[in-house]
């Protein structure tokens, strides 16, 4: 099962303040362990929302709003994508993570929706189209 492990934003992640070398080192060690265990698929951190934007959809209309966005707890700051056998194993990995921000942090664990979950809504045509996209993405990544 794949899980997305999401670091919720807080005032520190939104401040754009530089991280301490010790934290980078601890996080690097943790990531290396997850890679060696064959668990880690991808991991990324996001710049503060001040450097981002939102596109709001109202019917056919599109409205662009520049960051920053005020409610830090509604935002995310980064994520891991992991492959594990169960939700419990995902939680165990997350508990071992260095606290990603000073003081209080929240990390959210969410299961990735796989094609197998779509049931009969995944028609043969759609399955073929998905396979084509996957092949193209894989080819690009290997380039």
């Amino acid at each position: 099962m794949r899980f997305m492990v999401i670091v919720r934003a807080n005032e520190f992640t939104e401040s754009g303040e530089m991280p301490r070398p010790e934290l980078i080192e601890a996080m690097g060690k943790y990531n290396e362990e997850a890679v060696k265990a064959g668990v880690l698929l991808a991991a990324e951190g996001l710049h503060p929302s001040a450097r981002g934007a939102r596109v709001h959809f109202h019917g056919s209309q599109r409205t662009v709003v520049d960051g920053p966005f005020t409610e830090a707890k509604e935002l995310i700051a980064g994520f891991w994508l992991i492959q594990v056998k169960s939700r419990e194993e995902a939680i165990e990995w997350v508990k071992r993570c260095p606290n990603p921000t000073p003081d209080e942090s929240v990390i959210e664990i969410r299961q990735v929706a796989e094609f197998a979950d779509l049931g009969e809504n995944l028609t043969p045509e759609l399955r073929e189209q998905e396979a084509r996209i996957d092949a193209l993405v894989a080819a690009r990544a290997a380039r």
Binding site: E44, G45, V64, P100, R110, Q111, A113
Partner: protein, 158 residues
Amino acid sequence: MGGAGWIGPAAVTGSRPNRSTPVEVSVRFMVIRRADAVTEAGAAPTPAIMAAMDKYMAEMQQAGVLIEGIGLKPSSKGALVQFDAGKPRVIDGPFAEAKELIAGFSLIDVPSLEEAIAWARRWPAIDMEANVALEIRPLFEESDFAEWQETWQHAAPG
């Protein structure tokens, strides 16, 4: 006093696609599909929505923009790990505030925020019955870490 700012999880394992020749000007963005009542209900998408999303993803792929696209199951299948003074505490989903949640994301590689916005605007409207927003956020890159490293060296005693 301040404390450490945010470090991206990507300190070691950036997931940028390998390229034989580096692209000079390109930035990676996460395009976040926020959750709503529909995504939190966990119903399977209709074939029409699937087809529209596939078409959109194929367009981004053909333009060489798409790195990854991921959809998440409802928060009822997930959990929160909350760190208080370094101690982890586990809270099972679902989580009450749908607008604080995300339902999925795409990772794209484009020259600028403007181009990322242009792609986001083309998101299939059929997916947007609830009039939710897409959020566009740049990723931390190796160049950011290089900058920090330089600052530490300057700050190091001796």
